[in-house]
């Protein structure tokens, strides 16, 4: 009986832990993907802006676009943690 109660507790704790790991992975991997995408876009954006200052606004916009990916990751993480 004592062993069964322990197992349920462990299982519950594990579920919470795995949710946290999942949330972490969702944000972490999405962040890495965003970073990789921004590496190229950022390099190109800085290059284009260095040549033509008028491109700054557009370049900034392009740099921000991959941020949506990390927001998706964040949403998944929040869903995992709070539902």
């Amino acid at each position: 009986m004592a062993i069964e109660a322990m197992t349920v507790e462990v299982a519950e704790a594990s579920a919470v832990g795995l949710k946290a790991v999942g949330a972490g992975l969702a944000v972490g991997l999405a962040g890495m993907g965003t970073g990789l995408a921004q590496l190229g876009i950022g390099g190109a954006a800085v290059g284009a802006t260095a040549e033509n200052k008028e491109m700054f606004g557009l370049a900034l916009l392009f740099t921000v676009i991959p941020e949506t990916v990390v927001i998706f990751g964040l949403v998944v993480a929040l869903l995992l943690l709070f539902t």
């Binding site: 190229g40 390099g43 190109a44 290059g47 284009a48 260095a50 040549e51």
Partner: protein, 352 residues
């Protein structure tokens, strides 16, 4: 040893994007067409309003008229090339420097030719473009020398010194530097091929460009000498390393039937960009038109390569070439206007 990329791809993307933006800022065809309808002072003002203002302002106190424009254009080109060498990262720098070595050949030959023909040093200096590994100081030193032998002595550390040294005696004896020029370009292209195959990152894209350049030059020779039967002298003019072997090129040059040459060349070099040139050859257009067509075809193909290899040396080389042709076009407009040539004739000399 191959250059090692320790900073990731971002600097390459940065440099290649800058080249693309610069390329987009070059004068479009419509501007040249507008310029052809202007008078010389208007052309000068127009050029001053583009990217050449600094140089024109700097040189305005020493030169005037078309000379001012020509020297300002050369200075701008040299400065631009030096800025690009300073900007490009890693292996791109090495490949760009190797490509720019052609300016050393042009400059040293200009000095040698000028010196042997008794041209004053000041005049020689005006037409030098220090865009290669020999900077302004090195070139001034060469121009300051009295004899061709001493000029070559100054080049002891240069990559192409062995060719200069080997060919100098024969050139002085014959009074012509044409053979030396051929040999220098052969050595230059052999060096580029060696470098692109030397395991350097991005060498593959560079090799494609080198092959294209060699093919263009060899085809120019074939189309110029078509029907020529002296195979030995033709062989000496051909550059090794392109799509065609030297034997093939010599054989093409010996064919009298234009249709046959075009068909044979096309079978091996089936590139869309060259089809207009082949048509021009077929229609027996003048040599100058065919040469311009080849340059345009090369630039078009380079543009395709730069899109296929966007983070390679190709966008840089494309910009360097296009900038060079922009300068030569502007020079053609200025000189043509000064000589009162009709606009059509000036337009026919431009790469637009």
């Amino acid at each position: 040893m191959a250059a090692v990329n320790t900073t990731g791809p971002a600097p390459y993307i940065y440099a290649c994007t800058r080249m693309r933006v610069r390329k987009a800022g070059l004068l479009p065809r419509e501007e040249y067409m507008r310029m052809l309808n202007m008078e010389l002072p208007e052309v000068t003002r127009f050029i001053e309003e583009t990217g050449y203002k600094t140089e024109i302002d700097e040189l305005a106190s020493s030169f005037s008229g078309v000379d001012l424009m020509e020297i300002a254009l050369s200075w701008n080109l040299a400065k631009e090339y030096q800025r690009i060498i300073a900007m490009v990262p890693g292996h791109l720098k090495k490949l760009t420097k190797s490509y720019l070595l052609r300016w050393d050949i042009q400059n040293v030959l200009t000095v040698l030719r000028g010196k042997t023909q008794g041209v004053p040093s000041g005049k020689i200096k005006e037409i030098l473009i220090p865009a290669g590994s020999l900077d302004k100081v090195d070139l001034d030193r060469l121009v300051g020398e009295d004899s061709p032998d001493r000029i070559v002595d100054h080049l002891k550390d240069h990559k192409l010194y062995s060719v200069f040294d080997r060919e100098m005696a024969a050139a002085l004896e014959s009074g012509s530097f044409a053979r030396m020029e051929n040999e220098l370009y052969k050595a230059y292209y052999a060096d580029l091929i060696r470098e692109s195959k030397g395991g350097v990152k991005g060498g593959h894209a560079f090799l494609k460009y080198v092959r294209l350049d060699i093919d263009t030059k060899n085809l120019e020779t074939v189309f110029r000498v078509k029907g020529e039967t002296d195979s030995e002298s033709i062989r000496e003019l051909m550059i090794e390393g392109g799509t065609f072997t030297i034997d093939e090129l010599v054989r093409y040059a010996g064919i009298e039937n234009v249709e046959e040459i075009v068909d044979t060349v096309r079978k091996k070099l089936d590139i869309e960009s060259f089809s207009d040139v082949f048509d021009a050859v077929r229609e027996n257009k003048p040599a100058s038109e065919i040469e311009l067509g080849l340059i345009k075809a090369k630039l078009d193909q380079m543009d395709r390569l730069s899109k296929r290899y966007p983070m390679s040396v190709c966008p840089i080389l494309l910009y360097l070439e296009m900038k060079m042709y922009e300068v030569s076009n502007l020079r053609a407009v200025a000189r043509g206007k000064e000589s009162n040539l009709p606009s059509e004739r000036i337009g026919a000399c431009m790469v637009v």
